[in-house]
Symmetry: C2
Subunit: 593 residues, 2 copies
């Protein structure tokens, strides 16, 4: 008897689209909070298409469907998505709004879920519909949810206070700061939908998504420093309720619509690049005055206070110890054979677990041996898992969530002896890494302005890498955090004291190997004399950089001086915490060159 | 008998404002063409306020008035403008739209001349009025013109053909290129208001404004490669009419309104950052379909063809000879005393006049001795004219218009022996200059991405300069030309082969001295091997850089190698054209270090 075939999700979606007279429906990867990680209950794109990457979008029409992914995922989308059902397009080079403008027939009704798109994104959709002569329709309930039978329940994990000893500023003080910012613009309240902003503002942490300690929720922060928090009451323990205090009023999420509906006549700020369009539509219908402006928590959250910075330094001591113990183990174990990407990942995780305050990885470890190292966002699986082989190089990019800080570090090491080409490329990447780490720049400089410093040694040889040089990092929050970046995009956000960033240039040779050298750094005032106030970076990460991959003749004396001083600091910081064998390995691995 | 005081212009303007029920009126420095230079007939801002700088804006209200200028002009505005009549504000830090939003009373009528503002600018004014609850009113005739009694007549200068031997591409071919670009977007025509675009497209030149060989005019370029040119018929000789041919239809400027009015139902492109808002309003009223997009001449005009590049190289030979003869003369004359900024300027001009194809300066020479060198956009006058003194340094930034190319070059030289600080700063500036000149970068890189290469040596010492590193340059057209730039702004225009730019980092010590080293360069494919296609710069300018201002110990060998190779090229290129004494001076001035 032939097996009964169940209908593919896209067919189910088309049935409900026909019923609702929707000619095209958009399914983004994002959830209502526009964060990097979404809970299983919101993984609609994966349910519909099979695609599990961290960014993407699908559009389903009656007789065609398309999935849009970026350059990181062009290989992955091939294996995960049925290409009989979906055309694949490039998210950046041929974005959905352009495709819609070209593809929608005149008069077509384009449906979207206003919870899953920001006002800026909806502006783009509206423009596409204008061009095509189509009609944009906000659906009342997401069409995927109507046909997704075994959809998981939303996460309900406990919310815990983040102690002042780690947060460094009481929530009352933070709320007062935001209230002053709002009052200064005669704004009554700001609508917050980013869980990391709310977690920062209220000094709380949760566990609703992978890797980032976030409680999924919404909030209205008022100009009197009080907050309405919309969150599943099952997440809030009595202890957390006490921590939040009387100025934070708790509401179940379903009360949000009524709360926004009651803001008629008030001036409400909303981030057009982050909030759900639903909230804008709701506030507009209620005749609130809308202030389209950035989430006011972004900048104070990005500029870490001294307690957070001390926490970061402490977390990096423990993290550096774990990584150095791992590298010492690896230097002995790997050349003997039997170490794989997955076993190395587990070994490193076990060293991290030995450290205090460790909560888990801050993202899925990227451990790429040989050719797998060239896949920038590689994630090892039992099917792809490669052994570490002598003569190859191994890239491992990992990080930890500690109660006192978030880490993110990449080291690339030779297994046995590396070839001349790998050493040449590694040294070029290191020169770029050092150029950023040593950079001194005037106040007002953006990360975009210093991105090329990291690329110049590669550019000079006709080489480059296709990712940003650095991303912002949270304080026991998301490992990717805005608004600051070091990248060649048009981000004009100046770098400000206290901002944490990664410094991670790389080089990738498809089918052969990958190189990346990543430390976290923090922006600091530069104390040296000069005519202009200048800034620079303090390096937080403490772990040796593989000397066997460096061609000393390519470094100038300044660069070698930086490396030797860094290695001395690594050695002096970590040795007191080490057993003698590891200390001996570290001494050798951090010798001056 | 007391002298009869005539009423100040601002009082006259207020009278007509009252009559027309306009509560605030905007007077920009720009004319209808948004170019850098405006003819006397359009110098309304100067007439109204006395301010003669190249950028600025005034707003006049019944009981207050403000003038907005940028950082270059903060000193100049002090001396030129009556501060009893005008408050001075910073054009960038406190822009007019913000001031209007803060200052306009609710219900006020803000008047503007739609000929003098672009659609993007009018969007900003509209937003300001929305915020203030004011009403934006496009006036039918500029209120200044109604009361400006002795307003000069608009310029009427002959338009001449730019021969194919210099233009390198026939106008038929250029018009065909633009027509294909329009047809590809189903666009019927583009409205052109930038005289340099029209001059490029039709291979014509004029003389309606200072320094740039521009004919002031408007045009409609159609998708059938024909052009309607709106220009004073007195400017067009029979020869030029023949050159333009039958596909270019000539109309007097007053026919433009009717021509745009007849475009109902057509799709018309218009540059929202360059066209007069008047044209947009006229086309909208005529029910044309508007395509808001950049002037299609910008990119082909920016990417010089091989004939234009050969012309540029030839022009730079003659220009380099003139500048080198001048520098040789200066090295003898200045230390003896008696040379001033103005006499030096005239001397350099006389050497340029000796060269073939020379038409005049490409901008007002900046010649700053000692402390005057620190004024970035200084223009010497009999009142400010300083003698060149021993022990000081002298900055001279000048350029020529030649039929085969436009030049722009800055040299800073020591008069006698320079101090250690000046040599230190000069060498840092030179390091930045060389870093740009030597840069190799992947295709797709923007000027914004390489700007920091020029600044890094200064940044490392806590120093910087407050202007861009490089601007685009035309081919016997404007000395400042877009869309490419090397600057820290968010300009994402990739650098493309054939684009001409300046490379001109500097350092300025207020009240003491100024340093700038400027060559023109052209983007070229880099022929060296590599994994990615890369670009670099060919240096066009040929003139020695003062060795007596260089601290050799601060240059690395790569930098010294670049300088020596550059100087060898200068020497080998110019010596055959020189008299023996100048050749001897050049040999000494370009010796290897």
């Amino acid at each position: 008897m032939p097996q009964q075939l169940s209908e593919p999700p896209v067919a189910l979606l088309r049935q409900v689209m026909a019923k609702k007279r929707i000619d095209a429906f958009i399914v983004p990867r994002a959830d209502e909070h526009q964060g990097e990680y979404v809970p299983p209950s919101a993984q609609r794109l994966a349910w519909l298409t099979g695609f599990t990457g961290s960014a993407g979008m699908a559009v389903v029409m009656k007789d065609k469907a398309a999935i849009f992914v970026d350059g990181r995922y062009t290989l992955q989308v091939e294996t995960e998505v049925d290409h009989g059902l979906f055309d694949t397009l490039h998210l950046i080079e041929h974005p959905p709004v352009r495709w819609l403008a070209e593809t929608l027939p005149a008069g077509a009704r384009l449906g979207y879920d206003p919870w899953l798109h920001t006002p800026d994104q909806v502006d783009g959709l509206r423009q596409a519909c204008l061009t095509a002569g189509a009609v944009l329709v906000a659906v009342g309930r997401n069409l995927v949810d109507l046909v997704w039978k075994d959809r998981p329940a939303p996460p309900v994990t406990p919310v815990v206070p983040q102690p002042d000893a780690f947060a460094g500023q009481r929530t009352e003080s933070k709320r007062g700061m935001i209230a002053r910012e709002l009052s200064g613009k005669q704004t009554d309240a700001v609508f917050l939908s980013a869980p990391d902003s709310i977690a920062w503002l209220l000094n709380i942490r949760g566990n609703d998504v992978d890797f980032s300690p976030l409680p999924l929720c919404f909030a209205l922060a008022h100009c009197d420093a009080s907050v309405d928090l919309f969150i599943d009451p099952r997440k809030i323990s009595p202890e957390t309720k006490t921590h939040l205090g009387p100025q934070v009023r708790l509401h179940p999420p379903q009360d949000l619509a009524a709360a926004l509906g009651g803001l008629g006549g008030k001036k409400i700020r909303l981030d057009p690049a982050g909030a759900p369009s639903w909230a804008l539509q709701r506030l507009t219908a209620a005749r609130a005055q809308i202030e389209r402006a950035a989430d006011p928590c972004l900048l104070p959250r990005a500029c870490k206070n001294t307690v957070e910075l001390d926490g970061a330094r402490n977390a990096h001591l423990r993290d550096g110890l774990a990584l150095s113990r791992f590298l010492a183990w690896l230097s002995h174990a790997a050349p003997q054979g039997g170490v794989t990407e997955l076993s190395a990942t587990e070994k490193l995780e076990s060293f991290r677990r030995d450290g205090n305050l460790y909560q888990g990885p801050s993202f899925a470890t990227i451990a790429g041996a040989g050719p797998n190292g060239a896949i920038v966002h590689y994630r090892s699986t039992p099917e792809t898992n490669r052994p570490l082989k002598r003569g190859q190089i191994f890239l491992i990019d990992s990080g930890g969530q500690y109660l006192d800080g978030t880490t993110d570090v990449t080291r690339t090491v030779a297994v046995g002896e590396a070839g001349a080409e790998e050493r040449h490329r590694f040294t070029l990447v290191l020169k770029g890494h050092i150029a950023v780490a040593k950079a001194r720049f005037p106040k007002g400089t953006s990360g975009a302005q210093i991105d090329s410093l990291a690329r110049q040694p590669l550019w000079a040889e006709g080489l480059d890498y296709d990712h940003g040089t650095g991303h912002g990092v949270g304080s026991y929050l998301s490992v990717h955090e805005g608004p600051q970046r070091i990248a060649k995009n048009n981000n004009s956000q100046p770098l400000l004291p206290g901002m944490m960033l990664s410094d991670e240039p790389g080089y990738y040779k498809t089918g052969a190997y990958g190189i990346r050298i990543e430390n976290l750094v923090v922006v600091q005032e530069d104390p040296r004399a000069g005519e202009r106030p200048t800034l620079g970076f303090e390096v937080l990460t403490l772990a040796p950089i593989d000397l066997s991959l460096i061609d000393r003749s390519l470094l100038n004396d300044d660069e070698a001086g930086w490396l030797n001083a860094y290695h001395r600091r690594v050695r002096e910081s970590l040795t007191p915490m080490m057993d003698p064998a590891t200390a001996e390995w570290l001494e050798q691995s951090t010798r001056a060159i």
